[in-house]
Amino acid sequence: MEVLKIATAGSVDDGKSTLIGRILYDTKSLTTDKLEAIEKTSKQKGYDYLDFSLATDGLVAEREQGITIDVAHIYFSTAKKSYIIADTPGHVEYTRNMVTGASTSQASIILIDARKGVIEQTNRHFFINNLLRIKDVVVTINKMDLVDYSEDVYNKIKADFSELMSKRDYQDQKITFIPVSALKGDNVVNRSNKMPWYTGQSLLEHLEELDKKDIFNIGTPRFPVQYVIRPKTEEFHDFRGYAGKVYGGELSVGDEVVVLPSQTKSKIKEIYFYNEKFQTASRRSSVTITLENDINVSRGDMIVKDGDLPTIDKQFTANICWMDSTQLTNGGKYIVQHGVNKVLAKVDKIHHKINPDYSGIEENVTGLNVNDIAQVTFKLNKPIFYDQFKNHRTNGSFILIDTQTNSTVGAGFIQ
């Protein structure tokens, strides 16, 4: 059984919540009591169909305005996979939530309203999918029932979207087009007989077959130390274990390692998971490691294999997505949280703003506003140990924290 995390993106009224509701309904993931609640509310509102968006829009304001404000997580499973859908809002002003939802997803669904075709929002959604290097993108053309299930409409949208695809810089991304009607259930879970010209899979059939390779794990092993475990009990008197999660690749007992930033060399002595010892720690496992030598290691340090060092530097350049209503300015000071490591950072230079609709870049920028994407160089008060985002998703990304409000104000992808 594998877990597939999917982000959804679409504009207001593209029917995103309806699509998710439809998936839940047709996979029989909605329990009787939830279904009854939807039926009851739909009837109260005078609809002559079931409003599946009621299953996902969890906040009062969302139900009142009929829109999705915040990222919601929805869970369902089939015989083959467990799914987590990050349902992200489509409004321009909620781009930050879209980036957030996509940051943990392996695949994404971009929704297009068949009546409207490719619009500016579609460009943005696709851009973000590219920026975050989402491997599988499913372009779902919804509301086909409202365009008489027309093949011409579908082909026109496909052609328009293909033009966008030529502009992306992550060319290995796999893109699939599926015509659906979320409201009527065509090609969502079950294949439709209304579009005989479409011979491909339904949306769920497609998701079921997606590659299970975990894209977060590509790269070389990096072990950021989260917490130092010192029991100070009689039985474990001299025990000094380094707790953390293994990213990128595996680590094994006997591996020659280097501890950063001190660059002290040692060997992995033991790998614990709870009270069991293992020969190898697999990717993404939360283990505790002990080393042969008694060296000083603390939270924020990183254990890597000898001869396989990341970049160690007091500055880096990254594409960032700004998420706060207060501007980011040249010379501004922030906290960079890179994994579990925190350092103080200063904006050295905003190189340019990148228009997230593929319309080019804007130079001579002095500040960034909420939802802006830009290339920025930061100077740090001490070195961090990073990889490029394209080579290592976890060790190549960071968040920005405001030193005054403590809010998370941006996300970055190191170049």
Partner: protein, 303 residues
């Protein structure tokens, strides 16, 4: 086809994520606490905390907000667990908040102490200056909880500002807060009810007996099965029956309804949940109050 038995890959990845979160709490906060209700989710949290810090002890205490209307089995279980694992337990009582006049006991047919817990909890957070409270809420439980972050910041009044939540990217958890604020932490956010049960089965975790089918005196109201107890208001014409039941969630007696069940061991409970067509909180009387019942309670500082 919706709910199938999962193999261990899935549950292991959830476990690794939860252990990572536990360690972030211990590293980022000065005074964390694990909110313990005696229910299966908080028992699972305890197990995860023990695993996260082995061979060291769990570096934070447990706290139980006691409504005084608990199932006696839960309290017995709680005390045994704490003793066996050598954990520190803090108990604060809703009865004390009532006696001090801070909250008023509800009366009537649907009266419950469930919502009164919030005041006792917020007072305890202030008393001990806790800056992080670990809870067992899961996003699949309820649609307002689906919007919850893993690190969820609460203001000085314990309130949840749902429209202004911090974005959470990758697995980076931002625990920076101002003095007086605290963070609610949900390590099993991404688990479903079935995941929790599968984990309990896999790890062979002991849970209170009321989760398994047993004979109990109950009565029926509004399509739900209520416990016959001194803590639960009962009308004269509501007939007491003896039935085989079990509980899917364990809260205050006055807000937790039972389900008919013959499942007397973990394997049959897992099977039952996999085939169930009613959601877990479908038997929570407190959620039935309105469509936005949970969101309202959360804004006020509920778990």
């Amino acid at each position: 086809m919706s709910k199938m038995k999962k193999d261990t890959y899935h549950i292991n990845s959830l476990e690794n994520e939860a252990i990572y979160i536990m360690r972030e709490v211990a590293a980022q906060f000065e005074k964390p606490v694990l909110l313990f209700s005696g229910g299966k989710d908080s028992i699972t949290l305890v197990r995860l905390a023990v695993k996260a810090f082995y061979p060291a002890k769990v570096p934070f205490p447990l706290m139980h907000i006691d409504t005084g209307h608990n199932f006696p089995e839960t309290i017995e279980f709680r005390d045994k667990l704490v003793e066996e694992l050598g954990l520190e337990l803090i108990v604060r009582h809703v009865q004390d908040s009532i006696d001090e006049g801070k909250v008023k006991e509800e009366s009537g047919k649907y009266s419950s102490r469930n919502s009164l817990q919030t005041t006792t909890l917020l007072d305890a957070i202030e008393e001990f200056k806790f800056d992080a409270c670990i809870g067992g809420a899961r996003r699949d439980e309820e649609k307002a909880r689906a919007k919850e972050r893993i690190f969820s910041v609460r203001d000085d009044f314990g309130q949840w500002d749902e429209k202004n939540q911090r974005p959470e990217l990758f697995d980076m958890l931002n625990g920076q807060i101002h003095h007086g604020q605290n963070v609610r932490v949900f390590p099993i956010s991404n688990w479903t009810e079935l995941d929790v049960w599968s984990y309990i089965e896999k790890e062979n975790i002991e849970i209170p007996s009321i989760y398994f089918a047993h004979k109990r005196k109950v009565f029926l109201r509004d399509g739900l099965i209520w416990s016959h107890s001194e803590f639960v208001y009962q009308e004269d014409d509501e007939e007491v029956l003896e039935r085989m039941v079990r509980f899917r969630t364990v809260g205050d007696m006055s807000c937790t309804a039972a389900v008919f069940s013959e499942a007397t061991d973990i394997a049959s409970v897992v099977r039952e949940i996999r085939d169930s067509t009613i959601s877990e909180r479908g038997a929570r009387i407190d959620d039935k109050r309105s469509d936005a019942a949970m969101e309202k309670r959360k804004q006020q500082g509920y778990f």
